[in-house]
Symmetry: C5
Amino acid sequence: MKFARVVGNVVATRKEEKVRGRKFMVLQPVNLDMEPNGGVLVGVDAVGAGVGELVLFATGSTARQTELTENRPTDCVIMAIVDLVDIDGDPVYDKSKESG
Amino acid sequence: MKFARVVGNVVATRKEEKVRGRKFMVLQPVNLDMEPNGGVLVGVDAVGAGVGELVLFATGSTARQTELTENRPTDCVIMAIVDLVDIDGDPVYDKSKESG
Amino acid sequence: MKFARVVGNVVATRKEEKVRGRKFMVLQPVNLDMEPNGGVLVGVDAVGAGVGELVLFATGSTARQTELTENRPTDCVIMAIVDLVDIDGDPVYDKSKESG
Amino acid sequence: MKFARVVGNVVATRKEEKVRGRKFMVLQPVNLDMEPNGGVLVGVDAVGAGVGELVLFATGSTARQTELTENRPTDCVIMAIVDLVDIDGDPVYDKSKESG
Amino acid sequence: MKFARVVGNVVATRKEEKVRGRKFMVLQPVNLDMEPNGGVLVGVDAVGAGVGELVLFATGSTARQTELTENRPTDCVIMAIVDLVDIDGDPVYDKSKESG
């Protein structure tokens, strides 16, 4: 999995049949400084994430193993909403201290 | 999934048996400024996309999960035609405002 | 799938059991200007491609879905021999006009 | 597989259902000089690794083949704790000589 | 598949249960000039390769399709030992002419 910020969403009226009704979120991968790191992806949300939140996403066939996405054509899924990232004993991200 | 413009198509009379009859589209991945971002790919179309449209494509084994591509040797498929991309509340792409 | 030129082949007398008898071709990925784009790959040929031809190749588990490669340990397969690539209405590659 | 240092961990109270109870470790891929090489990943631990240890991790569908992760939506798993790396006959990493 | 030199091996007493007894080799991917090309990988050997040899390796789920690695959590496997690489009719690598 990798870290990303949820930065937006996509409206697409014409979607492949099996993903109709799924919400498509725009993800900006970030590094441990929370700076952008690589191009944006569009994922399906499995945990109820909102714009602005730091999340973990999985790619590839893994994205089809969640309850929400099983056997559906998805190659990117939001797996978790991050509360705290601890590096060598120091918190580099603490959701409770983010301005809301 | 990632964003791409459909920029063209490929004619190939000699294709692997299982993909005969499938239409091959040339995809130029783009970033949120709609600028090219990485090399072109060739995908199978699952939604009836045309040249010039902004689409979402999926890669890897996911590409074989659509109704059109199930169990066929495809590693890239067009999943949706994008109508609107909203980033932090601002539309960065709106299909209805594109000159046609 | 991606575009590549077939540039050569590999002789390997000691191969994993399940791929014995398969022909290994060296592929140089190319962009739409037909210039090299990224490092070479070695793929199994599913369509009878020859050195010098422009082909489409697939990677990952997809490479094991062709008639020739089903359930064999292959992660790269030549899927089609390209006759014509049309970008925004202009042919950027036309096999019939290549000097041969 | 690739080499990485375990550099931290992630707390996420809201996780996809099937990965609840799994520990998420932050991995910094490294080269043979043990210098950072590429962006961080978050993996599930299959061997009891701790922060500071050099490990091997696997990605993609492979990450779902361990006893701990079978059929769970994981795309990165710690596969082994490295004791010794020998390159052309010279040890470039020896865990027993690391200051602890 | 891609070309790599086998440059060393890894000792890991603590490994995921299903890969115990498998030998882990360090692979340096190379280009057609036999120069390093990208970071090292660690693969399982399916053909009896030794340090110094030029090999072809496969990645992803393909790595679990060999007789040796079936249903084991492996994402990189040595598939073949290269004897000869022929590019446009010229041998760029000939094992029999390597000093040994």
